[in-house]
């Protein structure tokens, strides 16, 4: 899906989280929102996903105005910063949640749901953990389950908030490749938030550098590295 952000602004009370920002994300891209803590990355991601409404501006999906579309109708696969797995459900039930939440008419039969969940568990290379609870998983496993849960609804886009934030360096590297593989396999337009420039540069086709609620530069990793648009970008990517 082609996602357009048109002059989106967001204020919380008196704090301005996003000054009007505009951004166009082509179908199938893997985009990194890169910036220091507090720069408005999460806010922008949540606005795209429908968890937050903008104070001003429009969101367009494939050219259609989606600004007031409900979070359910957007069908955005969202991976939360701390994964937000349902703690009282098994991994299987977590992944099946979105399928079971569908209206009765379009809800798959239990056998089909089981088949889908099995397929997704294979996709994240954790075929045997369906009966476990989230507390019984490692950080890396939780992240992959969260990804599988988001993919189960056959989302129209993938939105990930600091998907590798809580993991140690080794697991990070592995899962980076995992995300790249899943992106290439599904062809979903994907946006991930990170404050780690290596991660952004290595993984993304397109990097959006943000600072204090503004977009500083949009470009390929090579463009950002070779021709930083502002002194902020130069300093941030040099660090």
């Amino acid at each position: 899906m082609h996602i357009q952000i048109d002059q989106i602004a967001k204020t919380f009370g008196t704090t301005s989280a996003l000054h009007p920002v505009s951004l166009s994300i082509p179908q199938g891209a893997l985009v990194a929102l890169l910036g220091p803590s507090g720069s408005g990355k999460t806010t922008l991601l949540r606005i795209i996903g429908g968890l937050e409404y903008p104070t001003a501006g429009r969101v367009l999906f494939d050219g259609q105005d989606a600004t007031n579309m409900s979070v359910q109708d957007r069908r955005a696969g969202f991976v939360f910063q701390s994964y937000a797995l349902f703690r009282h459900m098994t991994v299987f039930d977590n992944i099946a949640y979105g399928l079971r939440a569908r209206p009765r008419a379009s809800r798959p039969a239990p056998a089909q749901i089981a088949q889908q969940v099995t397929r997704l568990l294979d996709l994240i290379q954790l075929p045997d953990i369906g009966s476990r609870f989230p507390t019984q998983l490692s950080g890396g496993q939780r992240q992959r389950v969260a990804l599988a849960r988001a993919l189960a609804i056959q989302p129209r886009m993938l939105l990930l908030d600091e998907p590798f934030g809580a993991l140690d360096a080794k697991v990070r590297k592995e899962l980076r490749q995992g995300l790249r593989d899943i992106h290439d396999e599904t062809g979903l337009t994907s946006i991930f938030v990170t404050h780690d420039q290596d991660e952004a540069m290595e993984l993304a086709d397109m990097v959006v550098v943000m600072s204090m609620g503004r977009i500083e530069q949009i470009g390929t990793p090579a463009q950002i590295r070779q021709t930083p648009a502002t002194s902020f970008v130069r300093d941030f990517t040099a660090a």
């Binding site: 969202f78 797995l85 349902f86 009282h88």
Partner: protein, 288 residues
């Protein structure tokens, strides 16, 4: 934890001396015996002073039956109401940002800080025969004061905070992320509540509800004001106990007190039993 494993021979600097520990344990157990066990023994002892027969006969009287039925009825109405109110209030407070939140939390605690007698008098002033509202209700054959609706109202007011106060900290700690995740997966608001919110708070809800039940059965002060203490009609168990005691009918008074205590103990046993049986699920919902 780890230092206890590797250097078990040394006491930690933060440990109390053995003597201090003994004193503290003795004080705790002594207090427990004095404040909890002793009254229980006295109540049961007094009730059975003239044997089981006398105790049971006193509970089988018409007025005693009426009091037991009334207390159970009031509890059966007040507790579900307050469970619902408590969930709604806690949900509203923890899942939304709005101005005046601190004030609302204070308001929930109001029944704990207002004297029961004052609360009872407020109900009498609002719904009594001399008030406009009370006059209209009595004219239509629905008296509130000196009748069951007044007692329900009083009990609901007094026991309102229990459920909400148990739920608010749990819901604040759990945050909104799981609910938001469910929304992004396409679940409707109601489905999110039933499949995510409610299961995550079920233990706190159970605990709050059981405390609320125990308190609802035992409520005295506010009910004493609004019920009019009509024997066989508006006298609840606690009210009946007081009346019997004032008439020097100590076997009857303590028999009913013993029964009321047993009801409270059943509530607590139920809670403990459920906690033991579902220890795993309990741990899973408490910590991620």
């Amino acid at each position: 934890m780890s230092d206890a494993v590797f250097i078990p021979r040394f006491r930690r600097a933060s440990d109390d001396s053995p003597l201090m520990r003994l004193v503290l344990i003795a004080v705790a157990l002594g207090g427990l015996a004095l404040l909890v066990v002793m009254p229980l023994v006295v109540v049961i002892g007094q009730a059975l002073a003239q044997g089981w027969g006398a105790a049971i006969a006193s509970l089988a009287s018409h007025d005693a039956w009426s009091a037991i039925r009334l207390t159970l009825l009031i509890t059966a109405i007040a507790v579900p109401l307050n469970a619902a109110f408590g969930i709604a209030a806690a949900w509203f407070i923890t899942k939304f940002d709005f101005r005046g939140k601190a004030f609302l939390i204070t308001l929930i605690d109001l029944p704990f800080s207002v004297s029961p007698v004052v609360a009872g008098l407020c109900i009498v002033l609002l719904f009594g025969a001399n008030s406009t509202l009370g006059g209209i209700l009595i004219a239509h054959g629905h008296p509130v004061v000196f009748a069951v609706p007044g007692i329900v109202l009083a009990t609901v007011f007094v026991t309102f905070p229990f459920v909400a106060r148990e739920l608010i900290p749990v819901m604040i700690e759990q945050g909104r992320a799981e609910e938001e995740a469910a929304l992004t997966l396409g679940a409707s608001g109601w489905r999110v509540f039933a499949s995510v919110t409610l299961p995550n708070i079920r233990w706190a809800l159970l605990y709050g509800t059981l405390l609320c039940t125990a308190r609802a059965m035992g409520e005295f002060g506010t009910v004493a004001v609004v019920s009019g203490k009509i024997r066989g009609q508006t006298a609840t168990m606690p009210i009946t106990i007081e009346m019997l005691y004032n008439e020097y009918l100590s076997v009857a008074a303590f028999s009913m007190a013993g029964l009321l205590t047993c009801l409270a103990l059943i509530t607590l046993t139920l809670k403990t039993g459920l906690e033991l049986r579902h220890a795993d699920a309990l741990a899973a919902t408490r910590r991620h």
